[in-house]
C-alpha cells in the first residue's frame, strides 16, 4: 500500500515534466542558448516558491505525516566536486537534453532510444563509484 503513494507521486511528476516540456531536448537547447524564458521561468518559480516553503517549514517546525520533524540535510562543504561534477553533468545534459528524471519520463512517453542514454547514465554512475577515491572532492 505504501508503495502506491510513491508511484502516484511519480506519475504526477512524469505528467508535470511532460506537460511543462521540461523533458524536451529542444527546450534544453533553447535554454542553453538563452533564446526563451520558458525553462528559466520553470526553475526560477520552483526555486523561489521552494525556498519560501522550506523557510516556513523550518520556522514553524512543521512535522511530516508520520509526526517526525522534517529535516533538511546540509550538503557537504566543498568546491571541487560540485564545480567539476556539475560541469561534467552539464556537458551530458546539453548533449542528451535529459537529466536523470526526464530520461525515464521520456522512455514512458515513447522515446525508446532513451534506453541508450539510461544505460550510459548507469555506466557513468558505476564508473564514478569505481574511481571515486582517486578524484578530488
Amino acid at each position: 500500500m505504501k508503495s502506491i503513494k510513491y508511484i502516484l507521486a511519480g506519475i504526477l511528476f512524469g505528467i508535470i515534466m511532460s506537460k511543462s516540456e521540461a523533458i524536451s531536448w529542444f527546450r534544453i537547447q533553447e535554454m542553453f542558448r538563452f533564446q526563451s524564458f520558458h525553462m528559466f521561468g520553470i526553475i526560477g518559480t520552483a526555486v523561489i516558491l521552494g525556498a519560501i516553503s522550506v523557510f516556513i517549514i523550518k520556522k514553524l517546525k512543521i512535522r511530516d505525516t508520520a509526526g517526525n520533524p522534517i529535516v533538511f540535510q546540509d550538503k557537504e562543504q566543498s568546491y571541487a566536486r560540485y564545480i567539476i561534477g556539475g560541469t561534467i553533468f552539464g556537458l551530458g545534459w546539453a548533449l542528451t537534453g535529459a537529466c536523470p528524471g526526464p530520461m525515464f519520463v521520456n522512455l514512458g512517453y515513447g522515446y525508446i532510444a532513451m534506453l541508450v542514454v539510461i544505460f550510459g547514465a548507469l555506466s557513468g554512475t558505476y564508473l564514478y563509484g569505481l574511481i571515486k577515491d582517486k578524484l578530488p572532492h
Binding site: 504526477l12 542553453f32 521552494g50 561534477g85 552539464g90 522512455l107 558505476y126
Partner: protein, 186 residues
C-alpha cells in the same frame, strides 16, 4: 473540462508551482526529492556492491524512490497517450534556425528524430553520442552529489551554497557542449 485544461501546454509558472508541489509531497512523507540517487540504487541491485564499496548500502531505504521512478515512466506514458495537444511546441524561432545549421530539424515534437528515433540508433555516431551523453550525466550527477532535482530544486530551495556551485557547473558544461562541442560533432 478539467481534462481539456490539462491538455493545454502548461505555462512556466504553473509548471514551476507543480514541481514544488511534488517536492512538498515528498517532504511531508519524510523523503527528500532527488532523482539521480536511483541510478546508484539500480547499480547496487545489479550487484555492484560486491565489488565497489560505494554501492554497498542497504538499497531498501531507497525503495520509495524506485517506486517514484516507476511512476514517472507511467506518467510519461499517460501524458503522451491521453494528455497531448495537437499543436506544435512553441519553440523559439532562433533556436529552430540555430539547430538547423547543426542538421537537426524541428518536427513540432519534444525530441528530434535525428537523435531519438529508432532509425537513428542504426547510426553508430548517434548511438555513440547518446551513450557518451548518458555516461556524462550519470558520472557528473554522482560526482556532484545530485542532479537537477537534488541541487537546482531541493538544494537551492534550502539555500545551499554547494548546490549553487553545482548549478553554475551545470551551466558551464551546458554552454561548452552547446557552443563549442556540438558544432564539431553534429
Amino acid at each position: 473540462m478539467i481534462l481539456e485544461l490539462i491538455k493545454q501546454p502548461w505555462s512556466w509558472y504553473f509548471s514551476g508551482i507543480m514541481i514544488v508541489v511534488v517536492m512538498l509531497i515528498l517532504l511531508f512523507w519524510g523523503k527528500s526529492f532527488g532523482f539521480s540517487a536511483n541510478l546508484r540504487t539500480m547499480c547496487t541491485i545489479a550487484g555492484a556492491g560486491k565489488k565497489v564499496k560505494f554501492f554497498d548500502f542497504d538499497w531498501k531505504t531507497q525503495k520509495w524512490n524506485l517506486f517514484f521512478l516507476v511512476g514517472s515512466v507511467i506518467g510519461g506514458f499517460i501524458a503522451s497517450n491521453f494528455l497531448t495537444n495537437p499543436a506544435d511546441m512553441e519553440l523559439s524561432a532562433n533556436t529552430i534556425q540555430d539547430l538547423q545549421k547543426l542538421g537537426i530539424s524541428f518536427n513540432g515534437g519534444l525530441n528530434p528524430s535525428e537523435l531519438f528515433s529508432l532509425e537513428s540508433l542504426s547510426s553508430p555516431k548517434m548511438l555513440a553520442l547518446l551513450l557518451i551523453g548518458g555516461v556524462l550525466v550519470g558520472f557528473g550527477a554522482r560526482y556532484a552529489g545530485g542532479c537537477t532535482s537534488g541541487h537546482a530544486i531541493s538544494g537551492l530551495s534550502n539555500l545551499q551554497v554547494p548546490s549553487l556551485i553545482a548549478v553554475v557547473g551545470f551551466f558551464i558544461g551546458g554552454l561548452v557542449m552547446t557552443f563549442l562541442i556540438m558544432p564539431l560533432v553534429f
